[in-house]
């Protein structure tokens, strides 16, 4: 079965991407599979300047999921472009860059830095990171700000497709999706993590130094699927679905509700070859459920 898809002008071999922050810069996974067997990769969130991220501890395991409060630790966009990107097979593997900034002009500036880079396939804009106190949560949850960020990035992105990555921690995800579309986004991706918390009753402390963190993994899949379904039905631009995908069947669920592509996040920690396996198994799963083609299956959910 032909697995290729076009996402906002981006040609992908197959709809399986990896999620930002869970696949490093891709290089870490070279020993566990063939990167080029993936539809593409999204690298760790990058900011203009290097960031140390939050204090430790930053991760905690929860039932069928995990919390993280990494706080967008990253070496800064320059180091990425000079040290990491050249080592990736970007000519044959779409490398999407995940952008983090604290206000719309800064997002615009970051997009400007990346817009001329041949090795960058698209920009994914993280307006939803719930970990960083100085702004992330505020504009990711406010439709007007989402539109402003989308506009700022789009203006500076040159011909790179701009994907806005939405937070599920909102009353109305459809409005947020529309806000991204209104701002000129070429696509949206969702979900980022759910805001959550864990505590240690012996030590009487939060399990994360940041107190609150982002929940991901299989636990959030039903919420993710609902958000993707609502977003798909709210906008005309294509949607990337993610949240709790660990198998090709999970991936198919997101395609069924209308996602054009999907990302594997926490699944990469269950085993470092998860994304490769999902990419390999997806055609078999689609055949098993009697899909005529990827396009025929995508969005073919029948309502009662």
């Amino acid at each position: 079965m032909d697995m290729s898809v076009d996402f906002a002008g981006l040609k992908l071999k197959n709809p399986i991407l990896t999620a930002s922050g869970t696949f490093g810069f891709g290089l870490e996974f070279k020993r566990f599979g063939d990167l080029e067997s993936l539809g593409g990769i999204v690298v760790k969130g990058l900011s203009l300047k290097p960031r140390e991220g939050n204090p430790m501890p930053r991760i905690a395991e929860t039932p069928c999921g995990m919390l993280n409060a990494i706080g967008i630790q990253n070496p800064g966009v320059e180091v990425f472009l000079t040290k990491k990107l050249p080592k990736l097979p970007w000519k044959t593997l779409p490398v999407l860059v995940n952008l983090y900034a604290t206000d719309a002009p800064e997002f615009g500036e970051l997009a400007g830095v990346l817009s001329g880079e041949e090795g960058v396939a698209a920009l994914e804009v993280n307006v939803s990171c719930p970990n960083v106190k100085e702004g992330g949560i505020a504009f990711g949850q406010d439709p007007r700000q989402i539109t402003k960020v989308a506009e700022a990035v789009k203006k500076n992105a040159g011909n790179k497709p701009v994907i806005i990555k939405l937070s599920p921690n909102v009353t109305d995800i459809a409005t947020c999706a529309k806000a991204a579309e209104d701002g000129g986004a070429d696509g949206i991706s969702l979900i980022n993590t759910l805001s959550g918390m864990a505590v240690d009753i012996e030590r009487r402390t939060p399990r994360l130094a940041n107190v609150i963190g982002g929940l991901s993994g299989p636990a959030v899949k039903p919420v993710a699927l609902r958000c993707v379904y609502q977003a798909v039905n709210a906008v005309k631009i294509p949607v990337i679905g993610l949240g709790g995908i660990t198998t090709a069947e999970d991936a198919a669920e997101f395609l069924l509700v209308g996602a054009t592509a999907v990302q594997i996040g926490t699944g990469n920690f269950i085993s470092p070859d998860t994304a490769f396996n999902v990419a390999k198994e997806l055609p078999k799963v689609l055949e098993r459920v009697k899909a005529e083609s990827l396009a025929e299956f995508t969005g073919s959910l029948k309502l009662p």
């Binding site: 490093g24 991760i59 995990m66 993280n68 299989p218 070859d273």
Partner: protein, 264 residues
């Protein structure tokens, strides 16, 4: 290539060692050798996740490579939580996903005395270290432990190298351990030895402080909580010598003391 780095291997043997103190089970787990090329080095670790684990525990669990030969890989673990409890239920023939060997390792300088400082389960990597060292006569192990000695592979080490141990049975035993560690670090600093260490954070911090004080050449192995084990999640970071966050799983787990900031 990839087949060697993330493999489902079979459990060959699993047994609890000795009679543990209440609530502390120390277990030896032997797995099929994952056919690593070009091999492994003492101090490196593996991530382990039984194939049958349901999704309620999403992460694999990191363990030092205790020892390995052409047919088997041995790890030593203590039952401390939900993951290790379930590892203990593994049966011969069960399949376990293993990715590794991961991370940095202890150096083996020729003709220099080496002090191995192990706290509790921190003894694990030294089994392999001793067995793969060409000059065991240069090695000395100092072992601080809570469960009795017979719970650990201590005997197999004391047959091969000089050993010394202190058992901590109550909080009041701790100062003696700190004093002895300080003395030993000073001694090895003075004779230009190498100090290698693995154990819980307070133990490592004592060593790090002493190494700073005496200018000792020390390598410390950290055991931070890990999700991926391969540098991707940034969940395991420690502060490097400049106070910057660095991944313990890839820049470590074995760090030169001078490349770490363990204050606090």
């Amino acid at each position: 290539m990839s087949a060697n780095n993330c493999r489902a291997v079979k459990v060959i043997d699993i047994k609890a060692l000795g009679l543990s103190s209440p609530g502390e089970e120390i277990v030896e787990l032997k797995l099929e050798y994952p056919d690593w090329k070009p091999g492994w080095r003492a101090g490196q670790f593996v991530m382990i996740r039984p194939v049958s684990w349901p999704l309620d525990l999403v992460w694999g669990r990191p363990f030092s490579i205790c020892n390995a030969d052409d047919s088997s890989l041995t790890i030593l673990f203590q039952v401390v939580g939900r993951g290790t409890e379930r590892l203990f239920e593994l049966k011969e023939g069960d399949k376990v996903n293993v990715w590794g060997p991961l991370g940095t390792f202890f150096s083996k300088p020729a003709d220099r005395p080496v002090l191995m400082l192990a706290g509790g389960m921190g003894i694990a990597p030294f089994c392999g270290y001793v067995d793969t060292h060409s000059q065991p006569e240069n090695l000395k192990l100092f072992f601080a432990h809570r469960p009795a000695l017979e719970n650990y592979p201590y005997k197999s080490l004391s047959d091969k190298v000089e050993v010394e141990d202190i058992r901590e049975t109550k909080p009041e035993d701790i100062p003696a351990i700190i004093t002895r560690v300080d003395e030993l670090v000073k001694e090895y600093a003075e004779k230009d030895g190498l100090i290698t260490a693995c154990g819980p954070m307070p133990f490592l911090r004592t060593i790090w402080n002493a190494a700073n004080k005496y200018g000792a050449d020390a390598e410390l192995s950290l055991e931070n909580r890990m999700a991926c084990g391969i540098g991707a999640c940034l969940g395991c970071v420690a502060k490097d010598g400049d106070g910057h966050h660095t991944q313990v799983c890839t820049t470590g787990p074995v760090f030169k003391a001078t490349d770490l900031s363990l204050e606090g």
